[in-house]
Symmetry: C2
């Protein structure tokens, strides 16, 4: 196999990249972006080798403790539990949340053999009981509210439910993010489950 065919095949490891776009990418890099291609190779090697999980929140980081856990300006009393690092990025991009996160890296799925131990729930328990050394300030974590931000589907709900049970003995408030009609969405085209949640979760505004 030539090095060109080799690159076309290797690019297809990327999600959403098939043979056609891999070929287009390969020829583009060879023709117009060899320095960029080499930079990408270096960036890939560093990331694949250096990135690990934050020892506090399990988010991806190349340090022992991630930037967010290390940020003394973040409120250690609020802990938002998400399924994946992509969810952390989504919340961070949205802005407005000043607390910290805990990343499950999955959701409970007995059929796939994913149980509580795979989601770091033991570590979550220790974190909430203040047994994990947290942020740069050297403080023990003192979580007061746990916000469950797993996805609103069967497995995400089951995961949230499991964590509620697990934390029932702890002196923390446990909340769930609101489900309802998304901004910019249209009620006419919103599914029944979402509308039911939107009605249940209604608030007084007058």
């Amino acid at each position: 196999m030539s090095v060109i065919d080799n690159l076309i095949s290797a690019l297809q490891v990327l999600p959403g990249v098939g043979p056609k776009s891999a070929q287009r990418m390969t020829l583009f890099l060879l023709q117009a972006q060899r320095p960029g291609g080499l930079e990408l190779a270096t960036a890939l090697t560093s990331a694949m080798q250096e990135v690990r999980e934050c020892s506090v929140c399990r988010n991806f980081t190349e340090a022992a403790i991630c930037r967010i856990c290390n940020d003394g300006g973040r409120d250690p009393r609020l802990l938002c539990i998400v399924e994946s690092p992509a969810d952390v990025l989504a919340f961070e991009t949205a802005g407005g949340f000043s607390g910290r996160y805990f990343v499950l890296h999955g959701k409970l799925s007995p059929l796939d053999g994913i149980g509580p131990e795979d989601l770091g729930l033991v570590q979550l328990g220790r974190l909430i009981q203040g047994e994990v050394d947290g942020a740069a300030d050297g403080d023990k974590n003192r979580v007061e509210e746990v916000i469950l931000a797993t996805n609103p589907n069967v497995e995400g709900e089951a995961t949230a439910h499991y964590i509620v049970q697990m934390l029932s003995a702890e002196p923390v408030v446990v909340s769930r993010i609101a489900h309802g009609v998304p901004l910019g969405g249209e009620i006419e085209y919103t599914d029944g489950g979402t509308l039911a949640h939107a009605l249940q979760g209604r608030r007084n505004i007058g």
Copy 2:
């Protein structure tokens, strides 16, 4: 910049990859495909460093002379002139062409400062005059027909026209690929220029 941000940014050198898909690719590789990510890095480095132009046809290859030029089974009398390596791949995938290629790596475009010398036309002239050592059989190239397969747009036509002029003194047949309604296309939705070409290029079948 963290190594994760670095990879998200480096991936955007790829055509069709914006911040959103770069982020998705990065998290996917970190979560599920670190070996594949490392292989991609190796493949990228090799390709960016080793791939050069074939000394006969200017197509991309890591050898001095590319696989097609080196293939004694290909007809050296037929030479198909294309704008890019992607065009060679398209013809090879289609199959049915047994000759060889010459890759211009562009098209005449005075406004962009791309002239005949950038397209290797001097080398093309020498190739057709039999002054370039060609295939593995050690034969001089003995091109009898030059097929112009530049794209059917203004610059591609101008490039084809220029090559026709350039080769007017050589003892070779010069032909142009047919333009017409593509297979699977619908006459109703075909543009006027294409239909005019389709009519002009009609053939007796009865």
